[in-house]
């Protein structure tokens, strides 16, 4: 797995080094670079849309306070996902295990094809709820695969499993989710 994610400008590693050296703008750049992906990951894992900004912010707070524990052997984004995932789990526990997944948070219905849009809206909502109810590893493998486009070996590295096991988790996740659409 690559230790940093370069998007045509400074790598994550370079930004972290700059941040450690006192360059505060490097922190802002890392937020801009990974904030949305982190928000989508948390939202797809069941966090309410109204709490995404707070969760993302708290994740970055914790990440920057614990920056010395990031050794650069995993992608910075994956490390953030781990911190954010733990934060969401803590929140879920504090709420007594209740998880309310709204199904009206997707885009408004397209009036040009209202029937088709209602069906698409319904299916998207089912998939989102279905993802939140997957076992943790299945959910994380599925999201890293379809939203981040990571290959199995990188997913395995991120989640501390093997590429073969990651493939199996992905297969089971897809099978479960397919069942929600029939």
């Amino acid at each position: 797995m690559t230790a940093s994610r370069s998007t045509g400008h400074e790598s994550d590693q370079a930004l972290v080094t700059a941040y450690r050296g006192g360059n505060e703008q490097a922190a802002g750049e890392l937020v801009q670079r990974h904030g949305v992906a982190l928000g989508r990951y948390l939202y797809s894992s069941g966090a309410p849309a109204g709490e995404i900004d707070d969760l993302v912010q708290e994740t970055f707070f914790r990440a920057f306070r614990a920056l010395d524990t990031w050794r650069g052997d995993a992608a910075f984004r994956s490390w953030l996902f781990r911190i954010g995932g733990n934060l969401r789990k803590d929140l879920y526990r504090r709420e007594g295990g209740r998880q309310v997944v709204s199904i009206v948070e997707t885009d408004a219905v397209d009036h040009a094809d209202p029937e088709g849009q209602v069906i698409a809206h319904d299916q998207a909502a089912r998939i989102r709820v279905g993802i939140t109810r997957l076992p943790r590893l299945q959910r994380e493998v599925f999201l890293l695969r379809v939203q981040e486009g990571l290959p199995y070996d990188e997913i395995a590295c991120n989640l501390g499993t093997t590429p073969g096991a990651a493939r199996v988790h992905y297969h089971h996740a897809v099978q479960r989710l397919k069942g929600l659409l029939t």
């Binding site: 703008q25 937020v31 949305v36 989508r40 849309a49 306070r65 997707t106 998207a124 998939i127």
Partner: protein, 164 residues
């Protein structure tokens, strides 16, 4: 119907717009209900939360993250403002006690300062700061000038002397 193995592996890339289906793959998806269902799951899964891009206040989050760092940057010598204020206040109290309690014609062995329990919780570095601002008192014999050089026993004796 046989399912092309690579089709499943390519689905995430196509769903994210990083690749597209070939005509043969498209034909298979049209005719195979099982692969079509899998494609639908992947396609929908890839779009969950896609609209967050417009709804998140990334600039605000970035500003607060930077501000959090500024709040947490330690002062030189790792002495926080609150701790430093406490040290100065304790030193001032100690100085006041010494001036009030110092006897006008005390024997050399008499204690020069009243009990000051706040001193017990201080580190050697903080005690040094206190001593730096204390007025010189007659009859004090502090072994050495640098408290950081003292061992625990010596430091204890200094404290006992101070507390009487």
């Amino acid at each position: 119907m046989t399912h092309p193995i690579h089709l499943s592996d390519r689905m995430p890339q196509v769903a994210r717009g990083a690749a597209s289906w070939s005509p043969e793959e498209m034909a298979h998806l049209t005719s195979c209900a099982e692969c079509r269902a899998e494609w639908q799951v992947v396609e929908l899964g890839a779009t969950v939360g896609a609209d967050l891009t417009d709804r998140m206040d990334l600039a605000g989050i970035a500003a607060r993250v930077v501000a959090d760092r500024a709040r947490r940057t330690p002062l030189p010598k790792a002495l926080s403002f609150r701790r430093a204020s406490w040290v100065v206040a304790t030193a001032a109290a100690a100085a006041l006690l010494i001036m009030v309690a110092r006897p006008t014609s005390a024997p050399e062995s008499a204690p020069a300062v009243a009990l000051l329990p706040e001193l017990e919780g201080m580190s050697a570095e903080e005690l040094e700061l206190v001593f730096d601002v204390l007025p010189a008192a007659d009859g004090w014999t502090v072994p050495g000038t640098n408290l950081g050089d003292l061992d625990d026993g010596e430091l204890e004796r200094v404290l006992r002397t101070l507390e009487g």
